[in-house]
Amino acid sequence: MHDSTLKLTLRYLVSILIVGIFVFPIAWWGLTSVKPISAVFDKDRIVVFDFEPTLENYRVTVLGYSKRGSKEDGKTLMGTSGNNSYDGRSSIVSSVIVAVGSTLITTIVALLASYGLSRMRFWGSQGYLNWILSQRFLPPVAIIVPLVFIFHDMGLRDTHAGLIIAHTLINIPIAVLLLKSFMDDIPIDIDQAAMIDGATRFQCFWMVILPMVKGGLAATAVLCFVFSWTEFLLSLFLTSSIRTIPVKITTYVTSTGSEWGYISALGTSAILPSFIFILLVQRHLVRGLTMGAIKD
């Protein structure tokens, strides 16, 4: 409050420097994505910026043009592009389907469960909460082997539906606890008033509580989306031809070398949507990351 000018200037400088260090890798990554290949691998020009910026890497990975610049038949590319192709379109589509699908299912299932947990007292409710919390701490690797077998038997292996289920599974604990914390903020008198007026539990949830947790619901949905969008391990084990972006990117590293231009272009495209979403719900981010334990 009563800092001297010198102290304040110093604080600004140190803050900018530190935040700069944290932004640097992403800035570097973005820069690499617009460098021509020759500039990426030139070890004498690492920190010299005399190159013609190019969108070639984005044309290949996001728009699906072939390396030479001519557009290939989109249909065959979408359906049959192997893991070594640099066309990232099918992985973008897969990532969107899986992230949106799992976000939808997670929020619906979690809304119901969180209402029950927030508004009803029943035998074992604390134990039930602990069980849900413990699911959040389950290492995915502990269930991956049987999950592969179960998915194989159910025909879910290497399908969008399977991956949606897997991501829903890891998101449910977070979503339930988070939504419960938002519902706990609403006084229970409101439910009672609605029910005195003749509303059933479900009407009370649908018409009274749901509109009141809209903000919290948006924050929960964004976090579920981001967790699904960035998830790697389950996607790696449970799919082989369907590739989400994080898995797809790792296939650009081959024994003959890494295509850094393409990797960084697809990577930058993957970061943008989640950053925009996260900024929209920044207010509730801390509560989300601590599953409702810290209110903001």
Binding site: V19, F22, P139, V141, W229, F232, I249, G267, I278, L289
Partner: protein, 304 residues
């Protein structure tokens, strides 16, 4: 309106009470079903799998309940992996906590510009960990990586030993990627904690002539202890199950210098296809997480 009719008792089909919205059952059923079928059942299945001995030559699995479990405790790679995992978790957690608290104190200001800086701090959190791994691979590259280049300039590294080629430096290389991605998590939580602190004690301390240092150690830290414990618990568990960075950046190498428990389980799965033993190592990881997390919760009285 059907439910309202059933209340009045003039409805043709009356649902049993546990199927109406007045009972917790329908509310909790979808989430429970999901968690039981795809969460609990696989763990039990894992336990069942771990009781089979796989013959690598014939690929025949025979029921030998204690085979894999005695193997886990005698396996040097498991012991190595436990030590790598604990080292990784401890170092990364300490750095993230100290940096997180420091940066939070620095950015906790209502002055112009700090809001923007706080928003920019979130940026690393939305990068997919696999992409983070790739970013650092690019920057660590021995010939054209920008971090390697800077370290050569400072004389801290020689071009003959790239960062990810040496055992110790490879572990540090992965830790730095983790620190970059997750320090912002700590910053956000610590900022929330700082914002929630009451103002009065600090004003009283200032009147009594306490220095900033004294106020930090005597007031801020003790009042933040619950939040710090919670952040350490969440982050610690995530660090203990680290997989993405290791898989992408070093694939447990060089040798097994960066092989964590989850990475080892993945290796057994992918390379040896010994599913029973992979399950056993994975379950062993789970048991360690549960024991350590519960001890922590008991000692520091963490509450959700």
């Amino acid at each position: 309106m059907r439910d309202r009719d059933s209340r009045a008792g003039n409805k043709l089909i009356r649902l049993p009470r546990w199927l109406t919205s007045e009972h917790p059952f329908p509310w909790l059923f979808p989430a429970s079903a999901m968690l039981i079928v795809f969460g609990l059942y696989p763990v039990l299945y894992s336990l069942w799998l771990s009781m089979f001995k796989r013959n690598p030559a014939t690929r025949i699995e025979t029921f030998r309940p204690s085979w894999n479990w005695s193997k886990v405790f005698a396996d040097d790679r498991v012991i190595d992996a436990v030590s790598v995992t604990l080292t990784y978790t401890f170092i990364a957690l300490t750095i993230q906590l100290v940096l997180g608290l420091g940066i939070a104190l620095l950015l906790d200001s209502d002055r112009k510009g700090f809001g923007l800086l706080r928003s920019l701090m979130i940026l690393p959190l939305v990068v997919p960990p696999a992409v983070t791994g790739m970013m650092f691979l690019l920057m660590y590259d021995g010939s054209f990586g920008v971090i390697s280049h800077m370290l050569y300039g400072l004389g801290l590294l020689s071009p003959s030993t790239p960062i990810l080629a040496g055992g110790t430096s490879a572990l540090w290389g992965v830790i730095i990627a983790d620190v970059w991605q997750w320090t912002p998590f700590m910053v956000l939580i610590m900022l929330a904690g700082l914002r929630a602190l009451p103002k009065d004690p600090f004003e009283a301390a200032a009147i009594d002539g306490a220095t900033d240092m004294q106020a930090f150690f005597r007031l801020t830290l003790p009042m933040m202890s619950k939040i710090i414990a919670l952040a350490v618990l969440i982050r610690g568990i995530d660090l203990f199950r680290i997989y993405d960075y290791i898989k992408v950046m070093t694939d447990s190498g060089p040798g097994t210098a960066t092989e964590t428990l989850t990475a080892y389980a993945g290796t057994i799965y992918f390379k040896n296809a010994d599913f029973p033993y992979a399950s056993t190592v994975a379950l062993f990881t789970l048991i360690l997480v549960v024991i350590i997390a519960n001890l922590f919760i008991k000692i520091f009285k963490v509450r959700f």
